[in-house]
Amino acid sequence: GGGAAPLECTDAIGCVEVAAGEPIHLAYMLTVSGATATLGDDSLGGIRVALNDRPDVLGHTVELTGEDEGCSAEGGQTAGTKVAADPSVVAIVGTNCSGAAFAALPAISEAGMLMCSSSNTNPGLTDPEGGWLPGYYRTAHNDKFQGRIAAEFAYNELGARTAATIHDGSPYAQALQQVFAETFAALGGTVTFQGAVNVGDTDMRAVLTTVAADTPDILYYPIFEPEGNFITAQAAEVAGMENTILMGADGLLADTFPENSGENVVGMYLSGPYVTGATYDDFLAKWAEVIGGVPPSGFHAFAYDCTNMILDAIESVAQQGSDGTLLIGRQALRDAMTATAGFDGLTGSLTCNEYGDCATGEALAVFQITEAELNGGWPPAAIWTP
């Protein structure tokens, strides 16, 4: 109808107006430089595939701009300040690293935006006592879930009674192995050793020798490539590790991992999101089409889900003018995001709680790598779900 009243913003913290013919502006803050660049590339790919799926949102295209957060607090802060200064930004996918999120969040939250992370796992981010701020969401698993599930699997399913862990000095891995260790001990197991390696290390024999000295039933190392590859490969060469089960986490859930790690990877367990076969295959096909090749790491699906959840939320709250103008209430958008329930994502069914944890841990699974994956098959079969 021609003479409809102009849209009026009644939102408590303001609105974004998208004029007719203009794109809806999404931003990303990912780590696309430095040693963690694979994480960023991976998440970015997920976002791009999602946007490719939905070229039209309420009659508008979606524009994606982005910043490098460099996986550091200062990088996150600068990127956050920059994104927050652009009032056309509706929502943000990011950050990759929890440290960057902590630093970016104040500015983002203050600006009324919302931010959905594909790989922040630090428990503090969704803890109102620990740094949570309104507008924060994540599809990544809180370490509390994944660490617990991995420990339960190890203790209950594998019957492990002694365990060792290794982290790589990243807040992510450090926290995850800590939760694992605590849960494992609480279940009645013994943690023989909690070790660490450095990013950039290639020689893992020393630390593996230490692990081997206690011949634990399982070794949990929720770290990334390439350090994870080195540990997997070199575990075969260290005397005393023959009977120790190897287990990693979603950081290693990448299709390059088996091939890069060599034979010893066969039989290894990985905890991670339960990405179901058919849909995921579909996603991979789209990836190959849009980005080319295969995803470099394990967070693309979370980013894909984040993007879709945000777009859904926009669709549900945006007021549409007759000329095509959109008015998106920022608080409304947050509310819609928080209200997400049973969202059927690549990473399982997502339901957000009031502090932005959208992955409940229900959709986690444990995978086992077999010869098939070593020879190029992907993904591995989920052998256990909680």
Partner: protein
């Protein structure tokens, strides 16, 4: 007499001696505790040591590039770690291809030699190109200036290769013949370790011979001392400097493939950074500018890294000791340099000649 001796030592010396003493005592306690608890079998120690030697010989090969260039231009070629990366990273694709067509498994020796040559060729070209573009115009500039272009080149190379080959990790394929073990002194050692070690040592000996005995080698030493006078001797210093970069590049390229045999995983665009720093450390440890020094420095560093955490720190009850392995390596460096400011093999800067 005593008073006279005392008057010679300054409080700085006293402080340094105390520092050394404390460090030594701590190390000894660590060693003692480690050995008395006997957590590890000699088999395990041997595995670590041999791996350390193999790693060390790779450091040494890279360190030689630093030392050669430093010797001749008094310049830290900060991008040398990247030169190593370019060879290793480009060659991984060839290795994967060889694996796919079966060449790598059917005639491994030939294939490896081809890989080494390819890698050396890539690294050499990049090293020579770098000298031409980024260093030669600055030959007479104060020494910090080429250091900065080297840092710039380091970033440029990293991200060029990232742009070309992506940020993914690659791995060298397994080579069946290198999978076995070898019995050395009663220990079963993965075959690849002594192979890498021996090959590297062979290369280094060849290099040493080259520099000490051949005319080009002598010219290198002359250029390193005084370029103007070297020219007066009929030495084309540009040619000599280029050869030096080429030689260093070739060794780094070879190191890239050795590394791929020994540590197949983790080939990516930043793979050169840490080995570069380590090799630089090794070169300094041995006495920068000194060829045997670089070799010994590299081997020593490899050993310290492999054995240090378990040997020293664990005994002290430090959790996650392995995390501190670089710290130990650097600490040893500091201790040695306090004792011998010119490095292990470095020429004594003599008494200052006035």
């Amino acid at each position: 007499m005593l008073r006279r001796t005392l008057s010679r030592v300054s409080w700085v010396d006293v402080f340094l001696r105390i520092f050394q003493l404390v460090a030594a005592v701590v190390i000894l306690i660590g060693l003692y505790k480690t050995f008395t608890t006997a957590r590890y079998s000699s088999e395990q120690w041997a595995t670590l040591a041999f791996a350390g030697l193999a790693q060390g010989s790779i450091y040494a090969l890279i360190a030689l590039g630093y030392t050669l260039v430093y010797g001749i231009l008094l310049m830290i070629n900060f991008a040398h770690g990247e030169i190593y990366m370019t060879g290793a990273f480009s060659t991984v694709f060839l290795a994967m291809y060889f694996n796919r067509i079966g060449f790598l498994q059917s005639s491994p020796v030939l294939a490896i030699i081809v890989l080494i040559l390819f890698s050396a060729a890539v690294s050499t070209s990049i090293a020579v190109l770098l000298e031409r573009i980024a260093y030669r115009p600055l030959r007479n500039a104060p020494r910090l200036i080429p250091l900065i272009t080297a840092i710039g080149a380091s970033f440029a190379l990293q991200y060029t290769f990232r742009g070309l080959f992506g940020s993914q990790f690659r791995a060298y394929p397994d080579i069946a013949v290198l999978k076995g073990t070898w019995n050395i002194l009663g220990f079963d050692v993965p075959l690849v370790q002594p192979v890498v070690f021996l090959a590297a040592v062979l290369l280094m000996v060849a290099l040493y011979w080259f520099v000490e005995r051949t005319k080009t080698g002598k010219a290198m030493r002359a250029v390193s001392e005084d370029k103007a006078v070297a020219r007066l001797m009929g030495i084309d210093i540009d040619r000599i400097i280029v050869s030096t970069f080429a030689l260093g590049g070739a060794l780094a390229g070879a190191a890239g493939v050795f590394n791929g045999l020994f540590r197949p995983q983790g080939v990516f665009f930043l793979m050169g950074f840490f080995p570069g720093i380590k090799a630089f450390t090794a070169a300094v440890l041995g006495g920068i500018g000194n060829i045997p020094g670089a070799m010994m420095g590299g081997l020593l560093l490899g050993l310290i890294e492999a054995l240090g955490p378990n040997l020293i720190l664990e005994g002290l009850g430090i959790p996650a000791a392995n995390q501190l392995k670089d710290a130990i390596a650097f600490l040893v460096l500091v201790l040695i340099l306090i004792f011998r400011p010119q490095g292990i093999f470095g020429e004594r800067l003599a008494e200052k000649k006035a």
